[in-house]
């Protein structure tokens, strides 16, 4: 067992170790599915809370005094809604990922996990602060595209240290973010697609590729 003579076996061992030592493989697809479900629920609540003018607003009307005041009444509720979605998604993500690592007998918080989290959170925290600044300037209509763009870039950055699917998810989020910035009034819809539908789709894909018992 100490010596490996077969070249194919050697190459397999090399690839396996390179991947295990540099990529965080325990990321669970189910955490994506859970985050997606919470995001759709949160977007749904926001959708029914806001009245029609605020769901799909017109950029020209947005800058008039009236609609601006109307939105500022409801933004506290929306911020609370978003915060709850974020924490639920984070907790379920940690839960499912820890579960997957335990099942495989791996440590969750190792050097690959640390690297992935750092490379994810640097662009993500930047985006978070940027969104608070947008809020401060009352540029609420740019919030949905900004969260999608920064989240997508964070995923692309973190994908170097985890499963390859994360990269494609990141690129999709960036494309959606750009579309949302173009079609300004439909932020909530793009947000629900990006954080809801895409998470569920890629989460299921990762789950069936790496976790489901065959």
């Amino acid at each position: 067992m100490e010596n490996i003579k077969e070249p194919i076996q050697q190459l397999n061992e090399i690839r396996n170790l390179m991947e295990r030592s540099s990529r965080f493989m325990s990321l669970s697809g189910l955490s994506g599915v859970a985050a997606g479900i919470f995001a759709i629920a949160g977007a749904g609540i926001a959708f029914f809370y806001l009245d029609f003018d605020q769901r799909y607003f017109d950029i020209n009307r947005y800058f008039t005094e009236m609609s601006y005041h109307k939105f500022s009444d409801s933004w506290l509720f929306i911020a609370l809604d978003a915060l709850i979605v974020l924490s639920l998604a984070l907790f379920s993500g940690i839960y499912f990922t820890t579960r997957k690592a335990r099942r495989k007998g791996l440590k969750v918080w190792d050097s690959t996990a640390r690297r992935m989290v750092i490379s994810l959170f640097v662009p993500l925290a930047t985006g978070g602060i940027f969104c608070l600044i947008l809020l401060y300037h009352h540029l609420v209509f740019l919030m949905a595209p900004s969260t999608l763009l920064f989240y997508g870039l964070a995923l692309i950055n973190a994908s170097k240290y985890t499963l390859h699917e994360v990269r494609v998810l990141g690129i999709s989020e960036v494309i959606l973010g750009l579309m949302a910035a173009w079609l300004v009034g439909y932020g909530l819809l793009f947000w629900a697609i990006g954080f809801g539908v895409l998470h569920i789709f890629y989460g299921l894909m990762m789950y069936f590729r790496y976790e489901a018992v065959k």
């Binding site: 100490e2 010596n3 003579k5 061992e13």
Partner: protein, 100 residues
């Protein structure tokens, strides 16, 4: 030259040494404990293989203290990188020859 390559290839046949090199190729530097966990081996066994690789100038060692605990980190040297690439080429060649 051929003999040297042959000797190197023999070096990499060992599971632990091959593993150390694979891990160091894709990481800037790795500490002893992480290597031990990744390769699932004992302290003594890992240390002796690391010594051998260091003696052949394939890896470099960096000793320091982290929170007063000794922390030994390893990284691959330039000659180690070249030797490992050559070993990969050699493996590919063997596989191609087998296919014929």
């Amino acid at each position: 030259m051929k003999e040297i390559i042959n000797k190197l290839n023999k070096q990499f046949e060992n599971r632990i040494r091959l593993g150390i090199m694979s891990v160091l190729m894709v990481n800037e530097s790795v500490d002893f404990v992480t290597l031990k966990e990744l390769l699932d081996t004992t302290d003594g066994n890992l240390a002796s293989h690391l010594n051998m690789l260091e003696k052949n100038n394939l890896i470099g060692v960096n000793k320091s203290f982290v929170r007063r605990k000794p922390n030994t980190r390893y990284q691959v040297t330039d000659s180690g990188r070249i030797a490992f690439r050559e070993h990969l080429d050699y493996l590919n060649m063997l596989i191609k020859n087998n296919d014929k």
